[in-house]
C-alpha cells in the first residue's frame, strides 16, 4: 500500500439515437429489427454518385437537447467527414461534426444523495450511425470470427454525441449523471434511451492522478457499457486497475478496453490498432446550418420542466426523499400521475401510496397507474379520508384494492363495504377493555413492560372490528387502559 492519495478523472461520451422518422442523411425509415437490408437506398448504401441531405428534425432535436444541457447554440454549424475504413461504414467516412458542432459548451445539473452536482458538457454534435456488423463462426465475437456479414438497416441512423468534461471522479456519480441525462433526453422525446438495445451508448474515459496534481494522466477508454450498474462497476474496476499498475511501478497504456460484467475482468479491445488519423475536413456535399436565432429562443422558451428540476422541486416543496423523488420521476407518466394525486392530498402520503400499494395492486393486473382506470382523484380522496380518520389505514388499502379490481367511487365503496372507521371513542374504549379482559396473561405481560404486546392487542382489535378501528388510536388506548386496569 502506498501513501499516495489517488484521484480518478472521468469523462463520458454518450451516443444517443434520435427519435426521428428517417435517417440522418436520407429518407429511409428507421428500422426496428426488420429483415436485413430492407431499409436502405443508394445514399445509405453509399452507391457511387449518391449524396447526403440533412434531416431537419435531427437539427431540431439536437437544439432541444442542447438547451436541456445548458449548451450555447452557435451561429453556424458545419458537418465534416471523419475518414476510416471499416465494413460497417459504407462511404469509408462518417459524416460527423468536428470543429463547428451544433451545440457548444454547457453544464448539466444532476442530483445525488449528497445534493446537487454539476457536470460540464464540452459539446454535442450530430453524426450518422454505422451499419450492423454480425460476426459468424468462432463465438460470434469479432476476434474469433470466420467472417462477418453487414446489414445496412441501421447505417445512417441519426446520433447525437454528447461529450462531458473530465470532471467526474467516481463511478457512482458517473452512473447518477448518466441516469439523469437519459431521463432528461427521454422526457424531451430526443431518444428512447435504451442502453440494452443500444439506442443509447456510453463510453468512459478514465485516468488517475495523485490528489492535488492538475495535469491529466494517461487515459483509457472503456467502451459500450450497456447498463448503469455495469458502467459504475466498470469504472470502479478500471480505476482500481490503473492504481494497481501505477503503484507497482508501471505506466498506464492508452488503449480501448472492454469490461466483462460477469467476471469483472477488463480486457483490451483493440490490441493491434494504430491510432486513427481521421483526416477531418468540412463536408463539401453539405452546406452550413445557421439556426435562426428566434427559432432557437422559441425552443428554449418552450422547454417543459426537466426531470431533474421536477425532482428537485418535489424534494424542496413536497419534502420528498431523494429516493422517493427518483423513483416517482421514472417514467415521466408516473411522475405526472403522482403530481395529480399530490395536488389534492398531502404529497408525502401521495408519494407512499402511488409508489407503494397503488403500483403494486396494478402490477398484479399488468397495468401501470397512468394506464389504469384508477383516477388520481380517487387515490387522493382515499388519502384524505385516512387523514380525516374516516377510515383506518388497513381499510384504506382494502378500498384501493377494491377500486383497482372493480372501479367505483371511494366514499361509496367505504359505505357499501362498511369500512367506515369507528370514530366513537367510547366504542373504541369498550373494545379495548373487552380485549384486555379477555386476554389477562398478555395484559399482565404488557403491564410488566413487554411493549411488543401492544401489537398483539392491536391485531386482535383489527380482527374484532374488521379493520375499521384506527390501529394508532387502538395502540394508544391499549397502553392507557392496561395501565389503568
Amino acid at each position: 500500500m502506498s501513501d499516495v492519495q489517488w484521484e480518478a478523472v472521468i469523462g463520458i461520451e454518450i451516443h444517443a439515437q434520435l427519435l426521428t422518422a428517417t435517417k440522418m442523411f436520407c429518407g429511409c425509415a428507421l428500422s426496428f429489427g426488420d429483415p436485413a437490408n430492407t431499409h436502405t437506398c443508394p445514399v445509405c448504401l453509399a452507391h457511387p454518385g449518391a449524396l447526403p441531405v440533412v434531416n431537419a428534425e435531427a437539427i431540431r432535436l439536437a437544439v432541444i437537447a442542447g438547451h436541456a444541457l445548458g449548451c450555447e447554440i452557435p451561429e453556424r454549424s458545419v458537418f465534416s467527414r471523419k475518414n476510416y475504413f471499416y465494413p460497417d461504414l459504407p462511404k469509408a467516412y462518417q459524416i460527423s461534426q468536428f470543429d463547428e458542432p451544433i451545440c457548444g459548451p454547457g453544464r448539466f445539473r444532476y442530483l445525488t444523495e449528497d445534493g446537487e452536482k454539476f457536470l460540464g458538457i464540452t459539446r454535442a454534435h450530430l453524426e450518422e450511425d454505422a451499419a450492423k456488423l454480425n460476426h459468424f463462426g468462432g463465438e460470434g465475437r469479432r476476434a474469433d470470427a470466420l467472417g462477418s456479414v453487414v446489414d445496412f438497416n441501421r447505417g445512417g441512423t441519426p446520433l447525437l454525441e454528447i461529450v462531458t468534461e473530465p470532471e467526474l471522479h467516481n463511478g457512482t456519480d458517473a452512473a447518477a449523471f448518466l441516469k439523469q441525462l437519459r431521463q432528461t433526453l427521454v422526457h424531451l422525446g430526443i431518444t428512447d434511451g435504451s442502453m440494452e438495445q443500444g439506442s443509447m451508448r456510453a463510453d468512459a474515459n478514465i485516468s488517475i492522478r495523485p490528489l492535488g496534481v492538475t495535469t491529466l494522466g494517461t487515459k483509457t477508454e472503456l467502451k459500450n457499457m450497456n447498463s448503469f450498474t455495469f458502467l459504475e462497476r466498470g469504472i470502479a474496476a478500471e480505476i482500481e486497475r490503473q492504481i494497481g499498475i501505477v503503484e507497482s511501478g508501471g505506466t498506464v497504456t492508452q488503449e480501448t478496453l472492454h469490461y466483462e460484467p460477469a467476471t469483472g475482468h477488463i480486457s483490451s479491445l483493440r490490441s493491434k490498432e494504430e491510432a486513427h488519423d481521421y483526416r477531418y475536413f468540412p463536408e463539401p456535399d453539405l452546406v452550413p446550418v445557421v439556426p435562426d436565432r428566434g427559432w432557437v429562443d422559441e425552443i428554449r422558451a418552450a422547454l417543459p420542466e426537466l426531470p431533474v428540476d421536477r425532482r428537485d422541486r418535489w424534494m424542496r416543496e413536497y419534502e420528498l426523499t431523494f429516493e422517493d423523488a427518483e423513483v416517482l420521476s421514472e417514467p415521466a407518466a408516473l411522475g405526472d400521475y403522482f403530481e395529480q394525486v399530490a395536488a389534492d392530498a398531502p404529497p408525502k402520503s401521495a408519494a407512499n401510496w402511488v409508489r407503494g400499494d397503488l403500483r403494486a395492486f396494478l402490477r398484479e393486473r399488468g397495468q401501470e397507474p397512468w394506464e389504469s382506470d384508477v383516477a388520481p382523484g380517487a387515490v387522493a380522496q382515499i388519502i384524505r379520508m385516512v387523514e380525516a380518520r374516516e377510515i383506518s389505514m388497513p381499510s384504506a388499502k382494502q378500498v384501493l384494492a377494491h377500486i383497482v379490481a372493480h372501479g367505483g367511487d371511494p366514499k361509496e365503496v367505504v359505505a357499501s363495504l362498511g369500512l367506515g372507521a369507528i370514530q366513537d371513542e367510547s366504542a373504541l374504549i369498550a373494545i379495548v377493555d373487552e380485549l384486555i379482559a379477555a386476554n389477562p396473561a398478555q395484559a399482565a405481560q404488557l403491564r410488566e413492560g413487554k411493549e411488543k404486546l401492544v401489537g398483539f392487542f392491536v391485531g386482535q382489535a383489527m380482527k374484532a372490528t374488521q379493520g375499521r378501528a384506527d390501529p394508532g388510536r387502538i395502540g394508544e388506548l391499549v397502553r392507557e387502559r392496561v395501565a389503568a386496569s
Partner: protein, 480 residues
C-alpha cells in the same frame, strides 16, 4: 443536309415537321455509335434506345426533345445500364438508380444511346487514363480528344450523336470541347444536380453539355438546371435558360486574362483566340485586359483540393457493396488493399495518395487548409474582374490536341493542360468553350466565363461570337 450534320435543334424541328422520327434518328446514330473507330463508347444500349424511341414516337404529346439521341459520360449513373466511370473498379456495375440530370433529360424526351469513355474517375486531361483504352480524336486519330470527358467530346465531333453530357471538375468538359472543335459548357457550380454523378471532387464537379452549336448547349442546359432535393448543393434556378439569338455584342465589356495569353500558351492557339477577340469591337463590344493575380496558383490549389476530396470520395470502393472485389482475400486488410490496388489505375492511385497526404495529420493546415485559402483569393480576383467587365476570355487549352502518349510519362505535364480552365472551376463560375479556328489543322477553343448565374448572358455572347467566327470545319473522314 445529312441527318448527322443537323444540330439537335434542327433534328427536333425535323421530327416535329414529320420529316423524320425518333426511331429513324436513333437507329441512324446507333449505327454510327457501333461503328466506333474512335472508341468513344463504352456501352451502346441498342434495344432500350430503340424501344424508348418507339415509345416517344407513339406519344400523343411530343416531349420537347422529341426523341433525339444523346450520349452520356460514363461518370453518370444510368439505372441498369453498365456504368464504369472508366475504371476496372466498376467493370460490369449496373447502377440501381439514375442520375437526376439524366432523368430530367429522359423525361424531356432525350434517348440515351450509350455511355461514353472517360479518364478513370474523371482524373485526367486526355482520356488515356481510361481502363478501357483511350479515345481517339476524330480530327487526328494519333491524338487525344482531351479529358476527362474525351468520349463525350469525340462522339459529338464525329457526329455519332448531336449532343452529349460530360462532367467538368477542372476543365473536363471545356478542354475536350476545345481539342475536338465543339461547344462544351460547365455551368455555375450547383446549377445542375450532382446526384448520380460519380464523385471526383465534390466542391468542383459539375455536369454540362457538349454540342456543335451554342443553342444546342443552351437547350440541354435548360432541361437540367434547377434545385434537386437529392443534392444539397444544388441551386434554386429562378431565371430560365433562354435560347440565345444575339448577333452583336453592343455594350459588352470583355476582359482578356493577361496571365493566360502569354508564354504558357501555344502561339497557334494564341493567334486563333486573338483573332476572335479582335472581332469583339466590330460587334460593338470593348476589350479590356484584366489581371487575375492569383490565377497562377490555380493549378497548385486545384491539385491539393481535388485529390483531397477525391481520396475520401473514392474510399467507398472497397469491394463490399458493389464493384471489383479481390478474390480469396483471407483477412479484411488484405481484402481492402488488394481490391483497391487491382481496381484503380495509376493516376487514380496517385491522386488518392496525394489527397490522403494533404489531409493527413500534421499536413492539413499547410496543404489542404492553405489551398482553401488560396481559393478564396482566386474568387476575389474574379469578383474584382467582374466589377469591371461582363465576361472574361482566354484560350481554353494551352495547346491543341497533343499526341497519344506525349504527356503520360510526366503527370505534371498532363496537369498543365488545365491551367486555363482550373481557376474558373475553383471559383464555381459558369464557363464554356467555343471553337474559334484551327492551328495546323487542329481545332482551337476560346473559353468564355461570367459571374455566377450569368448563363444567359454568357450564352448570348457565345452565340454572337459563334456566328461571327463561322467555324464550319469538319474532321476528316467524318460527316459522310
Amino acid at each position: 443536309m445529312a441527318l448527322f450534320d443537323l444540330s439537335a435543334e434542327q433534328q427536333i424541328a425535323a421530327v416535329v415537321a414529320g420529316e423524320t422520327s425518333s426511331v429513324e434518328l436513333v437507329a441512324a446514330h446507333l449505327a454510327r455509335a457501333e461503328r466506333d473507330e474512335w472508341n468513344s463508347f463504352l456501352a451502346v444500349d441498342r434495344e432500350r434506345a430503340l424501344s424508348r424511341a418507339k415509345e416517344i414516337d407513339g406519344l400523343a404529346v411530343r416531349p420537347p426533345l422529341a426523341g433525339v439521341p444523346i450520349a452520356i459520360k460514363d461518370a453518370l449513373s444510368t439505372r441498369d445500364l453498365v456504368t464504369t466511370a472508366g475504371s476496372k473498379m466498376l467493370e460490369g456495375f449496373r447502377p440501381i438508380y439514375t442520375a437526376t440530370c439524366v432523368a430530367r433529360l429522359e423525361a424531356a424526351g432525350a434517348v440515351i444511346i450509350g455511355k461514353t469513355n472517360m479518364d478513370e474517375f474523371a482524373m485526367g486531361s486526355s482520356t488515356e487514363n481510361s481502363a478501357y483504352g483511350p479515345t481517339l480524336n476524330p480530327w487526328d486519330i494519333t491524338r487525344v480528344p482531351g479529358g476527362s470527358s474525351g468520349g463525350s467530346a469525340s462522339c459529338v465531333a464525329a457526329r455519332q450523336v448531336p449532343w452529349s453530357l460530360g462532367s467538368d471538375t477542372g476543365g473536363s468538359i471545356r478542354q475536350p470541347a476545345a481539342l475536338c472543335g465543339i461547344v462544351g459548357m460547365k455551368p455555375t457550380y450547383g446549377a445542375i444536380s450532382r446526384y448520380g454523378l460519380i464523385a471526383f471532387a465534390s466542391s468542383l464537379d459539375q455536369v454540362g453539355p457538349f454540342a456543335r452549336t451554342v443553342r444546342d448547349a443552351a437547350l440541354l442546359l435548360s432541361h437540367m438546371v434547377g434545385r434537386d432535393p437529392m443534392d444539397a448543393t444544388s441551386l434554386e434556378w429562378t431565371e430560365p435558360i433562354r435560347m440565345p439569338s444575339a448577333t452583336r455584342l453592343d455594350g459588352l465589356r470583355v476582359g482578356v486574362i493577361e496571365e493566360l495569353m502569354g508564354d504558357g500558351i501555344d502561339p497557334g492557339v494564341r493567334a486563333a483566340c486573338q483573332s476572335t477577340i479582335d472581332m469583339v469591337e466590330g460587334l460593338g463590344g470593348t476589350v479590356v485586359p484584366i489581371a487575375l493575380p492569383h490565377a497562377g496558383y490555380g493549378l497548385a490549389t486545384y491539385y491539393l483540393i481535388a485529390p483531397a476530396e477525391a481520396s475520401a470520395n473514392l474510399a467507398r470502393f472497397d469491394g463490399i457493396r458493389y464493384g471489383h472485389c479481390a478474390a480469396d482475400a483471407d483477412v479484411l486488410l488484405e481484402h481492402y488493399e488488394r481490391t483497391r490496388a487491382e481496381g484503380f489505375g495509376p493516376e487514380v492511385k496517385r491522386r488518392i495518395m496525394l489527397g490522403t497526404f494533404a489531409l493527413s495529420s500534421g499536413y492539413y493546415d499547410a496543404y489542404y487548409g492553405q489551398a482553401q485559402r488560396v481559393r478564396t483569393l482566386i474568387m476575389r480576383d474574379f469578383a474584382q474582374a467582374f466589377a469591371d467587365v461582363d465576361v472574361v476570355a482566354s484560350p481554353t487549352s494551352p495547346s491543341t490536341a497533343f499526341r497519344l502518349g506525349e504527356r503520360t510519362a510526366d503527370p505534371l505535364s498532363m496537369y498543365l493542360s488545365d491551367i486555363c480552365t482550373i481557376p474558373i472551376s475553383l471559383a464555381g463560375l459558369p464557363s464554356l468553350s467555343i471553337p474559334c479556328g484551327l492551328s495546323d489543322g487542329l481545332p482551337v477553343g476560346l473559353q468564355l466565363a461570367g459571374p455566377a448565374f450569368s448563363e444567359n448572358r454568357l450564352l448570348e455572347v457565345a452565340h454572337a461570337l459563334e456566328l461571327a467566327i463561322g467555324f464550319d470545319h469538319v474532321p476528316q473522314g467524318v460527316g459522310q
